[in-house]
Symmetry: C2
Subunit: 339 residues, 2 copies
């Protein structure tokens, strides 16, 4: 029931996702009076979907704590419970981010060794795409949080994206070791020392994100959220300027017409719907957040992300790798090594 | 002598800047063996320029503290001294940012009531341009620093850009009052209470920068540096994708050819050289940093920024406004008011 165009776009996304993930089965939580007619128009979805009726839903304006307290019968909460109970392999929601984070953390708990889950997403780069985390779940992060994000991101890139030896960078204001905040410098020191097979690139700068310098971009939730939204805003600005330019004269308009397939390809490459589906990594269960303002195509991508997380057993790998890191490279252990 | 293509591009920039600012006179600090032949090729510049010879210059790899200690005869230091001594009205340099900041702060000191100078620059927006600060001078900022940045930025927008009533926003992860770090929440509380004629918009998000939601974007140096470079990287990525698309087929290439004037206008609007010239606001003297990798056109814009700062007496206004704010709205004063 979450998102600006729900539940219509949710069901449309389910329909589209079946092309890529034909084996998917759905539990659909929400108001059956609204959901039943929608399924009536999507027979293929209806055949693999079970509606779980609840009249309650979390509103966008609800505070996380409030949703946690009084949303026990909300569609969001019941969907998370289904993951906890093993009825569902993962949840995808376009609803209130703070509420989803709080409820999922409360119900599913975090993986052993992970203090705080992080929001991760794909970002477009010159060479394809990179994973970036955290994007706003944790406003203030210490070095240990950043190290945990690095491990989770690296495992994700290896397991889900199939990269053999993904590189990890920490976002900073300069590439030199001496620059930046204490938390990023300390996290870099731990990652440089670790025995894990992490290809730690070191520090990267803001322009390295789009350049695709590393496969995994690690940052705190404050910086990550602002950087991601700044990138989105810049892409939108550029697109607007391009449109202005191409409609500025009849000759330009003719040129744009001839170049239309090429421009459509460009639009497709920068389309935020392609990158929809932020993962709440570090939870003991699969949980994906769709952008609230997306449409069916965007939501189908978020379902695809969820399916990828499920089929690649990413959480089991995070658990195993983090257990190893925890033994080898805590700050205390590093101090022991040094003495 | 600073910057990748110095001193050639510096002298080229001086030449170009004379078109817009014909009354400018220059003191040019550096190696006269390299500077004299350059001036020989630019008669118009030579007529208004006095070379101050020094063989020393700060290197890009020099640490700020090292440059401060051993760079007493460097071209950078002598140029700053000239501002301090009243020989020059302002300095512009494409050299080592950290060294420039450290030396300028040491020699010129800060304005009364300003603890730390901030690096500020123009950023392109949908509606024109906004001022953004801090961009990396201060990695960790408390609420008082952010309030000072807001005052400096607001005065700048009013005095230099000529906006009657510029709006100021603080960069955060959400627009709601409850979101974000303590420092941004405390700064917002002070700005909401102040008696200054500051049109405080409240919090903005990353995508509000390019949207031009406010005239002045206030943030800490860590976030600001990363956001600015992320925007630059995204614009470059978009430009690269556009080029790829338009050269992908003969028809697209024909279309691009027809749309060339329009595409050039787009390129011009996003050209980083147009926005070159970061101001070190809060110093008791005018100091502007050019991008090190720029060319003559970019450097001429940095000279233009310096000239604007000089002719609008922005520092006198910051002093006056900050003195007023300091009396009315320190956290202690706010507490007094509340009780």
């Amino acid at each position: 029931m979450g998102g600006d165009n729900a539940p219509d776009m949710v069901v449309e996304g389910m329909e589209m996702s079946l092309d890529k993930h034909p084996g998917t089965r759905f539990l659909l939580f929400g108001d059956e009076q609204r959901l039943t007619p929608l399924l009536g128009r999507h027979a293929r979805v209806a055949a693999v979907t079970e509606i779980r009726h609840t009249p309650d839903s979390v509103k966008n304006a609800d505070k996380a704590a409030q949703a946690l307290r009084s949303g026990r019968n909300s569609s969001m909460r019941l969907a998370i419970n289904a993951v906890k109970d093993g009825e569902a392999d993962g949840i995808v929601s376009a609803g209130n981010t703070g509420a989803l984070m709080a409820m999922a953390k409360f119900v599913l708990k975090t993986l052993p060794g992970i203090d705080r889950p992080a929001i991760a997403t794909y970002v477009p780069t010159k060479t394809g795409q990179s994973l970036m985390l955290d994007l706003g779940a944790n406003i203030e992060c210490d070095s240990e949080n950043l190290v945990q994000f690095a491990v989770m991101g690296e495992v994700f890139a290896r397991q889900v994206r199939g990269l053999e030896y993904p590189s990890v960078g920490i976002l900073n204001v300069g590439a030199e070791d001496l620059k930046g905040k204490k938390s990023v410098k300390d996290a870099a020191a731990v990652l440089q020392e670790t025995d894990l097979p992490i290809k730690f690139y070191g520090f990267i700068e803001g322009d390295d994100i789009a350049a695709g310098t590393v496969d995994v971009v690690v940052t705190d939730g404050f910086t990550g959220n602002i950087a991601l939204k700044t990138a989105e805003g810049t892409a939108k600005l550029f697109g607007g300027f391009l449109k202005d330019s191409l409609t500025s004269s009849p000759i330009s308009m003719l040129g744009a017409l001839l170049a239309k397939p090429a421009l459509n390809r460009l639009k497709m490459r920068m389309d935020p719907r392609r990158y929809n589906g932020a993962m709440l990594l570090g939870l003991n269960g699969i949980c994906v957040k769709s952008h609230g303002g997306t449409d069916g195509l965007g939501f189908s991508n978020a379902i695809g992300v969820t399916a990828d997380l499920i089929t690649t057993s990413v959480n089991d790998s995070i658990k195993a790798d983090y257990a190893r890191l925890h033994v080898d490279s805590t700050p205390e252990r590093l101090e022991q090594k040094a003495t």
